[in-house]
Symmetry: none
Subunit: 225 residues, 4 copies
């Protein structure tokens, strides 16, 4: 029944203007923790990362993490959803900015690329650690992934219907497009002096050459955005 006087690294406490309350504070904490988790998970791997290290990075005590996340796996799931949710949020916007099916397809792939590029750490986590999720969590993640894939697939079908594409193997082209994006996250470091935009544009132009009915990959106006 004792409670010895404590001691531990007095991690520079974050400036506390005045603790924001409830919803606001909660969301702030959650992202604070999630960011630290993503950083660690992607750098050191899920298993190697300790809750303590995440807490340290997030500038709080271990205990507090558990008021915001059920357990370590919950944190992993959240980290993974970070990317998946971004897909769902941003790709449709990218698509909506165009009217022509082909432009939409291209915009969609670029949208994916941008999301992956901006969240490479989180994306890598999903790639490497998804196999160790509990079955339910895995299923949930997978579902989002499939829904995401559909965004691309639908654009391709639209292109075929509009006779902009030859009636090719939709699945294969979908897959290769996604692979192109993944490739950026996975080993972009092998390609010095390359931006995500250019990488994907080049990749797409190669992929689409034999697919396009009129044979011309549209000249993207890079200033547009």
């Amino acid at each position: 029944m004792k409670r010895p006087t404590s001691s531990r690294k007095a991690s520079a406490s974050p400036p506390r203007g005045r603790p924001k309350r409830s919803a606001e504070l909660i969301e702030a904490r959650r992202s604070q923790i999630c960011a630290a988790a993503i950083e660690r998970f992607s750098r050191d791997g899920y298993h190697t990362t300790t809750m303590q290290s995440i807490a340290d990075d997030a500038g709080m005590s271990v205990g507090l993490i558990y008021s915001y996340f059920r357990d370590k796996e919950d944190l992993l799931i959240y980290a993974m959803n970070d990317v998946l949710d971004a897909y769902v949020r941003e790709v449709p916007i990218a698509i909506a900015s165009k009217t022509n099916p082909l432009d939409q397809f291209i915009a969609a792939v670029h949208g994916f690329g941008r999301v992956v590029d901006e969240r490479r750490p989180a994306w890598l986590i999903g790639y490497r650690e998804s196999h160790m999720l509990s079955p339910e969590a895995r299923r949930e993640i997978l579902q989002k992934d499939v829904a995401t894939t559909k965004l691309i697939e639908d654009r391709i079908r639209a292109c075929i219907k509009a006779e902009l594409f030859h009636p090719i193997d939709t699945q294969m082209l979908t897959y290769q497009s996604l692979l192109l994006v993944h490739g950026w996250a996975l080993a972009a470091w092998r390609l010095p002096r390359m931006t995500c935009r250019r990488y994907i544009d080049r990749g797409l132009s190669i992929l689409l050459k034999p697919v396009l009915v009129d044979g011309n990959y549209p000249q993207i106006d890079w200033n547009e955005q």
Copy 2:
């Protein structure tokens, strides 16, 4: 009472014409262990796998593993090299079976594909767990990887020099070719009714269309092997 004394141990004792000596026996043991490790690591992940489970699968005691491998990480390195070494062994053979640079390039990619296809488990380990390695080990692995990449790159340069390819971005084509192969291992399950051969052939024909000087992807003689 968790660990009942096991029994798998009845694995047919090796023929004893002459007690397999040193190098021979050692190598036998090592692959025996390594096979078990690869199986486990790829199925359950590196961290989730216990040395005990590997020992069980390999039909020996935990202790013995430590006579053949320094520690668990050593086992991981070994497992990863399994693929890398296969590259180094088999790709050159595939290349040597052709004389024309274009055929050599194509054979090289197929060679990679075959290695990956036949060792998907080990390949996935490298993919997922390499970040876990100690810096030195990581560097060593990386080196082999780069050397391997060079095999492809050199063929592409040869094609360009022989004016079979337009003078395109060598790096990018190399990367896309490798990505094609990786794609097979990573998510082949998304493509039902697809073989590695066909997958890569299709992929290459798409990739090469805009690159080939005469525009024709050679008709592969599938009987050749």
Copy 3:
């Protein structure tokens, strides 16, 4: 997100004719908390019960509990005293309602029984968790227990002095009487269709048969109370 901000707090605010002051309010709070603690401790056990759960049940914040009790152990002591104090309060009253030593003895045992019956939860806590107390606290509790026992013992001596009882082993009879009462609290569930009154009456009539000088256990007037 484990602990959603609770809501039980809507407990009818106390009438405010005059803001319940100090002693009054304090005592109200204390019993409010203590009741919740007893409920929890007896249902889930001392260690399994969290301060949070007590606070929830009492309709207040954790912090506030610490304004009324030093710590968790203090709460336990308080809970245990709930029964002991009831003994001290109610048994003498029961005794005082009789004049004859024998009737007093019987009334005393019934008094104990009633207290135990009405506070079985608190009684069980004392039974199960007293070994958990710090030495000082334990001593204090023990003292009350002994004082309590004396109430019974003294009646027995009085009966002997009045030659209503044979000069038997006072200690043993005291003990067996208390054991009878404890037995009710401990395992009354084993005896279907039994009330505390009847249980103790029967028990006493058995216990007293060989002790009574005139051999007759008095016919209790059940209407008396």
Copy 4:
């Protein structure tokens, strides 16, 4: 991936003549651990006891305990069964040593008493901690307890059938007999200069007086055993 050099209290290693093997060793270890657990659980309570303290007492490392018991609760169950199993083992023997139903009943109660007396610590654990067992474990324990109770109940019925007892409330007498025994373990310290034998003998003679047909509690020959 580090493994720092260790350090910890070099608890005097137990003399190791030559480690006994398998079944023998296993049983030795189990009782070694179980004894330590009983000691600790009964002294400090289940929750307060740490696995480390048990390991220390048993003269081994924490880890080893887990090769012999699933978890802490498993250890608790085992500790509890220590008494229950002794009942099942020893009471029938005590009964079998007599032929007359009345003597059998008395022998049975004394048998219980002896078991409880010899294993008071373990018995107390069962009394105090059973409520915190998982439902299944609790059910299993309860079952043994009921079976045990039946041993007494059956003797009483036999006495009634043999017209040695008046046709009294079997349940109540059973319960009171058990309570007598429990009383010994629970608060024997209140009765100075008392042995278990005498305590139970006296208690039984009181309990049986109004029950016996011929009114005489048999004079036990205490030398017999």
